[in-house]
Symmetry: C2
Subunit: 232 residues, 2 copies
């Protein structure tokens, strides 16, 4: 069995992405408000980490850029731990060039315009603060729009709570990426933090509904589709 | 040794808070912005959980009301898990009457005024959202101001990043609580998420500087001070 496992690793057919470089993002970002408060989201990192592991198992050289999660670092993957969207973009750019980029992180669209150096306090004046937000860098759009260093396959995720396929198809066009994996994250589905995802794959050819799968199965199905893409 | 442990539990001197009811809060609160985003803070829950355990070890009947943390539920303590400040207040009120209340949670001062039912999206208009905030209930002030059901000893925490004792002394007067444990949570101290706390105890008699202690030692020292308070 050990010899077979070694043979499988040496067999090019078993490592169809050998020689390919992949970048995967995962988890939430944390955007600071002041020294103790931050804006977060409910991403667990399970889907992104599973994709990094599946691409590595298929032979790719994988860099995973991840926000704070409880997931262990996948074996055989280079992992960069970051907190904010700006740090995530810097981590992705530092990992270029790559053939494949899969952006599974739930990146905060906005951050607080001016992070306070001291803890914001109630001062008894009755005045309520209003947090002015500013847009974070759009990692998917930025990488999709790169010139010579654009990965040849750029895959984004769309976490939607309504009109899932329509919103994701529109997002694919707006971002300039190749594929979108759209999933329904309305609270009733339990996707955020849960084990299963119901995915719609949006490509240039249209949309494809996947059955309800575990996040590990989604990762393996995506890795298989990526292998097919590079074999075609 | 087992017989001694049993004797110690039966010995009133080893369970000096037997017959007393205590409420402890711990951890952060999470305040939703929309179905996937929330505002959080860097509280780990280590200090509050250690206080609940120390008061239970001293014989008190303890209810712990805690936000999301990685800390295990302390043995021998009734634990209520909540997410928001409003849920934490409801959990505290449901646990009254009590003799002792220790509010160690890092409760969000503010929540978003109107939680969005759908995920907030970038709409391409270039418009940046501004989150209007509204004040959360002030659990420490509310409980300190209760009439007949006010616990006879109400203890608050003050997490400060500057002028620690001055801010905490002012906070004690403003909240109407009996004691404040003030700690310096500026990022350089590593208090949030770390193992140690440097505490200043503010009482009606003035302030007292404790040495740098682990959070477990702080909990035991506080429990000892509470025993002394009820023996005096």
């Amino acid at each position: 069995a050990i010899a077979e496992a070694v043979m499988a690793r040496l067999d090019p057919a078993a490592r169809p992405l050998a020689g390919k470089r992949a970048i995967v993002t995962s988890g939430p970002t944390h955007e600071p408000i002041d020294p103790v408060r931050y804006i977060a989201n409910r991403s667990s990192g399970k889907q992104g980490h599973a994709i990094a592991a599946a691409l590595a198992a298929a032979g790719a050289e994988v860099t995973l850029v991840t926000g704070p999660t409880r997931e262990p670092d996948p074996a055989g993957v280079t992992v960069k731990h970051i907190e904010t969207a700006r740090e995530m973009l810097a981590g992705v750019e530092a990992a270029l060039p790559a053939d494949i980029a899969v952006f599974a992180a739930a990146v905060a669209d906005w951050r607080v315009a001016e992070e306070a150096g001291q803890k914001l306090k109630k001062d008894g004046s009755g005045q309520i603060p209003s947090l002015s937000m500013t847009e974070n860098p759009d990692i998917l759009k930025t990488v999709s729009g790169l010139g010579g260093t654009r990965p040849s396959l750029v895959v984004g995720f769309a976490a939607e709570t309504e009109m899932v396929v329509a919103h994701a198809t529109e997002k694919r066009a707006r971002k300039g990426c190749d594929w979108i994996l759209a999933n329904d994250v309305s609270p009733a589905t339990g996707t955020f933090g849960g084990e299963a995802n119901t995915i719609h794959l949006i490509t240039g050819a249209g949309s494809e509904d996947w059955p309800k799968l575990t996040k590990k199965e989604v990762a393996e199905k995506l890795a298989t589709r990526i292998v097919e893409h590079f074999s075609a």
